[in-house]
Symmetry: C2
Subunit: 481 residues, 2 copies
């Protein structure tokens, strides 16, 4: 067996790995990408793509409840066909995943090794029958859903994860969703909207990843109307009639299927990274300094959620490109992470930008908060939307925007706007100088910004920056009638 | 008849007048607002509010065409009931207009004069039996739809404007829309979606106010699928069978109703402004210097679309507040207008921010343009959206964002983001440093930004700002396999 010297080995052809490859290929052809398949990225195969296709059907179906108020007849004749919803989800998923694979065509034959790769005792990388000696390695093997072994053993195919959920031939009548982070919340609400009886379980009040109590309250109220939410740890067992028994401190229910969405664990167990000088934590994560993607003193780079970060495409793509860029140059991969942006595609949507209520707690009184409700706002009423609430966090001393969180219609867009503002170190006054068109959800954002600004210790501008400051203004005229 | 001296007279209790009042009332109680009614602002009574309520029904109804692809049955059983759509539109309109009137309660009894006001030869202001001598006057009388006299005479109530449109008891079978600016385009498309046979007429290719030929092309293609668009001047006459004949250079059609949306004219004809030293143009507009709201040398201030600006609530509110602020202080009302933002609530929506293709023409080659299509983008495909296109305008020399225009899903939100960026004098690179979540329409915007940046004469950053510039980077490794 000959050993081939290469500049860069990229293990994993997901979003991070493919992004790394694109940077590596700009400077050298001496690289290989290792992936045993199935190809097509987590995003396209089991993540964003199928979930958003599925959610779209659910949210469109739910919309019929506004038909009467809008002057449209026939809402009761609209039916969601579970098998058809799942079939179209798979069709779109396969098409999008196929597109990813098509994008690999120019280099696949020469640079893709369709094998599982692992380090060996002598520091080489073995993949099937081939052995490589890479100068640098990018680990981009991603993660997989966490499922307690005893649940998997007891429940068999009654237990679903995002890996299997979209392959169901039809929707079950009753489902329990274990874990109400973004994935559990999105799919749980969608299932409920499609007519499935859904019970969601999570011991934490941070459903959808929200730490602000004002938003938690609103979330419980709005999404809690559609699915039952139990704030507890659940246990699962198989009942004699073939159903699944979900039990918790205060109760017990029977369901047909269980979706387990309690987190993901890194695909690092078979890599034998210790042979490359990299020690992993018990959870399987490398110990990376903040803002660095390679283990100090090694040329092993990590990109994507494998290293413990969020399973978000845009961050995985960033990390992949940064890791690839530096791996090709054998330099430490330091980088500035973008301003955090999180979106949950529930309805109303949830989003947060920048710092969170939780991370700002330690700054206590120095943070101004302003909130506004979407419920009675013009646009939400016109659109027959379900309302929502937004909260803005800013520095009292400077009025600089630090973060924001919301449950709101169009939260994905408002979140992008605020993320850009934070990214540009904007003060609240800067935001108030922009135009706010009528009637839009952005107008509600403005109310929250004004409320936060009112708490700040900065001079409040008259007329929000539209006044031309070249013109001198006297003291106000006296108050006489 | 006694003459009452007051500090400020505000003529018109619409958006601009009410905004002026709020600023005036902060410094003096010596003011009056004159309005013969009906009260409730153009926005709430005949503008944004009823039109958006009407559009919501149309767009929701249209959405049924995606049901099959989404796994939802029964689309063919959904019916738009024209009379019900109009009834809910009026209900929401009346409720929102009522809310405006309720907001006037605290000062209405003491400060509102429900009469038409006009200046007299001696410079006083007469309103019914009362006479006032204001130190300053804010003219906020708004505009009304332009309708050629001969059309009105010939067609009677077959001719509609936004003043009468929403009071129709039911939808006509066939309608001609004369004028395809934002109003004509929005209502024309909505009517078509609700099952009315619509033919739209406009001699200009700038439908929806769009000057960029790339967007014009897309608009014709997308909205032209739903309603017939004739690029010509139309003439109207009453046929013997009671229908309306619409004739133009190349043809003639019969319709049941005509919506005339060819512009608005200022309500200045009965004010006798010459008595206050203000000369008006033939079109009825005052001659105001750029960025100033009072006629130089006079204490007559103009706020809102009466002075010839766009009929947009947020600009009317700005002008009202600025005019009121300075009228109360007897100072020249100079101000910095916000970055322009225009939104048409068609589907796809149309929006533009900052400068336009038209205004940038004179800068010729110094402007970089980058565009991107929404058609094949992940999110548009997942949402079964109808696609769209966005174009970004930037300064080649500096990569500073100057403007943008788009026909796109969520264009209202992307427009706000870009308006904020322009407002903050952002460069394209600043925008590329923000997070772009997946899958969102913002990702398409990023493609257009990148395309524009590629045309700029600035250094292209590796890794779009995520690379930490503290780390030195050698020249790329050599290209060896």
């Amino acid at each position: 067996m000959t050993t081939k010297d290469i500049y860069v080995a990229i293990i994993g052809a997901g979003t991070a790995g493919l992004s790394a490859r694109s940077e590596v290929a700009k400077v050298t052809d001496s690289y290989r990408v290792f992936d045993p398949g199935p190809l097509g990225t987590t995003c396209a195969r089991t993540g964003c793509m199928p979930s958003k296709a599925f959610l779209q059907s659910a949210h469109d179906y739910h919309r019929r409840e506004a038909f009467g108020a809008l002057g449209l007849d026939g809402a009761k004749d609209v039916q969601a066909i579970g098998s058809a919803v799942l079939a179209q989800t798979r069709e779109l998923r396969d098409d999008l995943a196929g597109g990813v694979v098509d994008g690999m065509e120019s280099w696949q034959a020469t640079h893709l090794v369709k094998e599982t790769a692992a380090f060996t005792a002598d520091g080489t990388l073995r993949a099937g029958d081939a052995v490589f000696r890479p100068r640098a390695t990018v680990i981009a093997t991603g993660t997989r859903p966490v499922v307690p072994e005893k649940w998997r053993d007891a429940l068999g195919d009654r237990l679903l994860t995002t890996e299997t959920f979209f392959d169901m031939p039809d929707l079950p009548a009753r489902i329990a969703v274990i874990g109400l982070g973004p994935v559990g919340l999105e799919l749980g609400q969608a299932l409920a909207r499609l007519g499935v009886h859904v019970t969601g379980f999570d011991p934490s009040p941070m459903q959808g990843g929200i730490s602000d109590p004002l938003l938690q309250e609103h979330l419980e109220e709005s999404i809690g109307r559609e699915m039952q939410i139990v704030q507890a740890n659940a246990d699962l067992s198989l009942a004699s009639d073939g159903s699944v028994t979900v039990s918790w401190e205060d109760g017990e229910i029977s369901v047909d299927r269980v979706l387990v969405a309690i987190g993901r664990k890194p695909n690092t167990d078979t890599l034998k990274l210790d042979c490359a000088g990299v020690m992993l934590s018990d959870a399987g994560h490398p110990d990376l300094p903040p803002g660095q993607l390679n283990v100090p003193g090694t040329s092993v780079y990590f990109a994507g959620d494998v290293s413990g970060g969020p399973a978000l495409l845009h961050e995985a793509a960033d990390e992949g490109r940064v890791a690839g860029f530096y791996a090709a140059r054998m330099k430490d991969a330091t980088f500035s992470r973008r301003v955090p942006l999180r979106i949950v595609f529930s309805d109303p949507q949830i989003s947060s930008a920048g710092e969170t209520f939780e991370t700002l707690q330690e700054e206590g009184d120095s943070i101004a908060m302003g909130s506004a409700s979407f419920s009675s706002a013009g646009r939400a009423r016109l659109a027959r939307d379900s309302g929502g609430v937004v909260r803005i966090y800013a520095e009292k001393a400077t009025a600089r925007l630090r973060g924001a969180a919301m449950i709101a219609p169009a939260a994905e867009h408002l979140g992008h706007l605020l993320a850009f503002a934070i990214c540009n170190r904007a003060q609240l006054q800067d935001l108030l100088r922009m135009p706010f068109y009528h009637p839009t959800h952005e107008e509600v954002l403005r109310r929250a910004i004004r409320a936060a600004l009112a708490e700040c210790q900065v001079e409040q501008e008259a007329l929000e920056g539209t006044r031309c400051h070249d013109t001198p203004v006297d003291a106000p005229a006296d108050k006489t009638t």
